[in-house]
Symmetry: C2
Subunit: 405 residues, 2 copies
C-alpha cells in the first residue's frame, strides 16, 4: 500500500488549514495579491502549490489569492481547459476559469477586476523553497500583464510562513514519520553484525521502507547515508568495500516520507561494549549530545536562527573541536531539506536564512558534527517542533551509541 | 527490483554520449559558455542536469561548459564541499571545486579565467524543459558575477537539442518502455469484463507496474487515465461510479518509466463484437487511425511541427469533425511531456514550440482525438522516432478497438 503520498482527504484538510491562515499572512507580508504562476508542475514544480493548490497542472496556470477591500480573500484558478474540472472538484476556489487557446486575455481581465497594489511572486535569492517561479515564467508574466510589472515583489514571506508554520495535521504526520524511522532503526539494529558492508546495510533499510510502502525524504541512492567509521561525512554513496569490524562505529542519516511528510534523523552504533569505546570517541559523542540539548534548551520563538547555531558552535570550540562546516539545523516538512529560516552561521552560502526569527510550528533538525583525530567522525541528528515557550523533541533524542556485541 | 531509474552505468554512458555532442551544439547555438546554476535539485530540479551532470546537489552550484580558443570543451563543477567527492567520482569533469563558505570568489575567478562572450542560461518563455533556472537564482547570478550580466542569453537551443535528440542508448530504453506498456495492456485485456469500474481497472494497471518495479511517466493518480465511454477526455480521475456495460468503450492513456525513460500510449477497447460497433464510432476511430498514419507519413527532419499538426487537423475537419482542442503530439523522453518543439497549432498557449523544426532523434507522440455526438470521445496515441528520411513507430500502431466479448 502506498504510504508515501498524502491521501487526498488529508491533503485537502491541510490546504484548508493553510487557506484559513492566508489572509493574516498576506497582511503581515504587506501584499494584497499573491500569484502562483506555473506550468508542467510534474517536472518543474513550485513546491508552494502543495500547501494552497494541490495536484499538478500542465499548461501555464495562474492561482490568484487577493485580499479584497472588505478584508476577505478571493481565490481564483486560471488553468487550461482540460485542467479546469480537477480544480472545480477541489471545492475551495471562488472561481475557476478554463482557457482554451491562451491565458492572456483572462489574466488581464482578472487583474483589472482585482486591481492589486502589491503582487507577491515566488522568487527568492536565499531560499529555494520560496523560489518556485522560473525566470522564463517571470519574463512571460511581464509580457502578459506589463501594466503590473512595477507591482511585483517577492512573496518569500508568505511562502515561508505557509510552509514553515506547520498545522496540527502536519505536525502529527511528521511525528509519525519520525516514529516509523526509529522503529526501522530498532529493527535493523537486531540484524547488524560484524562483516556487513555499507551497501548491504543500506539495502536492509530499503527493504523495510519498501515493505511498508513509505517514501524516501531525499534520494534513495544516498538514503540512508551509511558510514562505517567515517573519516568525514559527505554525500558519498555507501561502499561495499567499507566493512564492519570489532570496534567500528556505524553512522546513518535516514529519512522517510509518510503521507507526504518527512523525517530526517541520524543515529550511531558501536560494535563492542560500552566500556570499549575509546575516550576520544566518548568525549566527542558527549559533546554532540550536550550540544543538541543546549540548542533545544535555547530555542524559542522570536530568536534568530544563527544565535542557536552559535551557542552550539561555541560550545564545541570550548570542548577543543573545530567548527562544523555546515549549519546546525534546517527545517523539515514535505522534504528533509524544507527551506525557510535555518539554524546556521552567517555565511555567504546561507544568505539571509540564519537571520530569520524562529516561529511557532516550525520543525528543525539539530545535527552538529565532530571529526575526531583517531576515531572518525561523530554526529547525531534530532528533530524538534517549536512551541509557544520553547521546543519539543519529536522522538526521544539519542543519549548514547547503540551497542552491538 | 527498481526498474524506474536509470542504472548508474547506463546514466554515465548517456551523459558521455551527450558530452560528445555538446561542442557542436554550443557552436550551432552561438554560445561559448553554458552555465547550469542550481540548488536543492531534489526539490527544484533543473531537468537539463540529467543529461550532462547527473545526480543532485544541495547548495548553489555552477556547472560550466566552455568552448576554449582551441575549440575544445572545458567542463567545471563548482559545488559545496560536501558535494565535491560525488562530482569527482563521475570522472568527466576537467575540474571540480568544492567551496566552503560561499561560491562567489570561486565563480568570479573561474569566469575571469574563461572570459566567455555569450553565456547561455536555462531560461525560456515557451519551453518549461529549457527553463530550469529559477528567477531568484537568476537574480543571484547577476549579483555574483555582475560584470557578465550583459553576456547572458537563453540556452534554450542547447537544452532542447541535448534533450530532444536522443542518443542510441536513450532510443533503446524508450522503445523498451513502449514494449512493456503494450505487454501490460495485453495482460490487462485478458482480465477486463463488464461490471468493472474505472478505479478498479486503474488499480489493475498499478499492480502490474509495481510488480515489475517500474515507474509512472506522469502522476500515478491519473496514470493510466481510464475512461469508460467518455464524453470528453480531461484530467479527471477514474471514478468508481463509471462502470463497463455491453457496448461500452474503454480508453486508457498509460505511460511507464523504464530505466528513467518514458512511454505514453493510448489504446481503446470495445465491449461487444466488431460488427456491433456503431457506425459513428467506427467512422471516428477510422479517422483517428488514418490521421496518425498521415502524420507518420509526413514527418521528416526540417519541417516545422505545426505543419504536421495542420495536416491531421485539416483531415479531421474534412471528415466532418471539429478541431481537437490540443496539440497533435509532444516529445517524450525522461517524462511523458518532455518539452521542446511540438506538433501543435500556433496558439498563444504553445508559444513558439510548434514553429520549431523537426530533428533526427526526436521522439513524438501522435494523439488526435474526436468527440462523437452519440458515442463519446475517441482517441489513440502512438509514438514515433524521427529518422534521417522520415519516422518509425516505436511499437505497432493500433489498427482497431481491442474487442472484449
Amino acid at each position: 500500500m502506498n504510504q508515501e503520498t498524502t491521501p487526498l482527504e488529508e491533503h485537502l484538510k491541510i490546504i484548508q488549514e493553510k487557506h484559513a491562515k492566508l489572509p493574516q499572512i498576506m497582511v503581515d507580508a504587506g501584499v494584497d495579491c499573491w500569484i502562483i504562476f506555473a506550468r508542467e508542475t510534474a517536472t518543474t514544480p513550485d513546491s508552494s502549490m502543495k500547501f494552497v493548490v494541490g495536484g499538478d497542472i500542465v499548461l501555464a496556470s495562474a492561482f490568484i489569492f487577493a485580499i479584497q477591500s472588505d478584508g476577505s480573500l478571493k481565490k481564483c484558478a486560471l488553468v487550461a481547459n482540460f485542467d479546469a474540472a480537477a480544480e472545480e472538484k477541489k471545492g475551495f476556489w471562488d472561481e475557476v476559469i478554463g482557457y482554451e487557446k491562451g491565458i492572456k486575455s483572462h489574466l488581464q481581465a482578472k487583474m483589472k477586476e482585482l486591481n492589486p497594489k502589491k503582487i507577491g511572486l515566488n522568487f527568492s535569492l536565499d531560499d529555494f523553497s520560496a523560489d518556485g517561479l522560473s525566470h522564463g515564467m517571470f519574463l512571460l508574466l511581464n509580457q502578459l500583464i506589463p501594466r503590473y510589472k512595477n507591482n511585483f515583489t517577492s512573496a518569500q514571506k508568505i511562502v515561508n510562513t505557509i510552509r514553515s508554520n506547520k498545522s496540527k495535521t502536519e505536525i502529527a504526520l511528521i511525528r509519525k514519520a519520525c516514529d516509523i524511522t526509529e522503529e526501522i532503526n530498532h529493527l535493523i539494529t537486531k540484524q547488524l553484525k560484524i562483516g556487513q558492508n555499507e551497501f548491504e546495510i543500506q539495502q536492509m533499510f530499503h527493504a523495510e521502507v519498501q515493505k511498508r510502502g513509505l517514501g524516501f525524504s531525499w534520494q534513495q541512492i544516498g538514503n540512508p547515508a551509511v558510514d562505517i567509521s567515517p573519516k568525514e561525512f559527505g554525500h558519498v554513496l555507501p561502499q561495499t568495500s567499507n566493512v564492519i569490524s570489532e570496534g567500528s562505529t556505524l553512522h546513518n542519516d535516514f529519512g522517510i516520507l509518510f503521507h507526504g511528510y518527512a523525517s530526517d534523523l541520524q543515529r550511531m552504533w558501536f560494535f563492542g561494549k560500552k566500556e570499549e569505546v575509546p575516550n576520544e570517541l566518548h568525549h566527542a559523542l558527549e559533546t554532540i549530545i550536550n550540544g543538541i540539548q543546549l540548542a533545544a534548551d535555547n530555542i524559542k520563538p522570536g530568536i534568530p536562527g544563527y544565535k542557536i547555531d552559535k551557542i552550539v558552535r561555541d560550545y564545541q570550540l570550548s570542548r577543543g573541536y573545530k567548527e562544523y562546516l555546515h549549519g546546525l539545523g534546517h527545517q523539515v516538512g514535505i522534504m528533509a531539506h524544507d527551506g525557510g529560516g535555518m539554524l546556521g552561521p552567517i555565511w555567504e552560502r546561507y544568505g539571509d536564512l540564519p537571520k530569520k526569527l524562529i516561529e511557532v510550528g516550525q520543525i528543525f533538525t539539530l545535527e552538529p558534527s565532530i571529526r575526531t583525530e583517531h576515531h572518525g567522525s561523530v554526529s547525531l541528528e534530532e528533530m524538534v517542533v517549536v512551541t509557544e515557550r520553547g521546543c519539543e523533541f519529536l522522538v526521544s533524542p539519542a543519549k548514547d551509541f547503540i551497542y552491538i556485541n
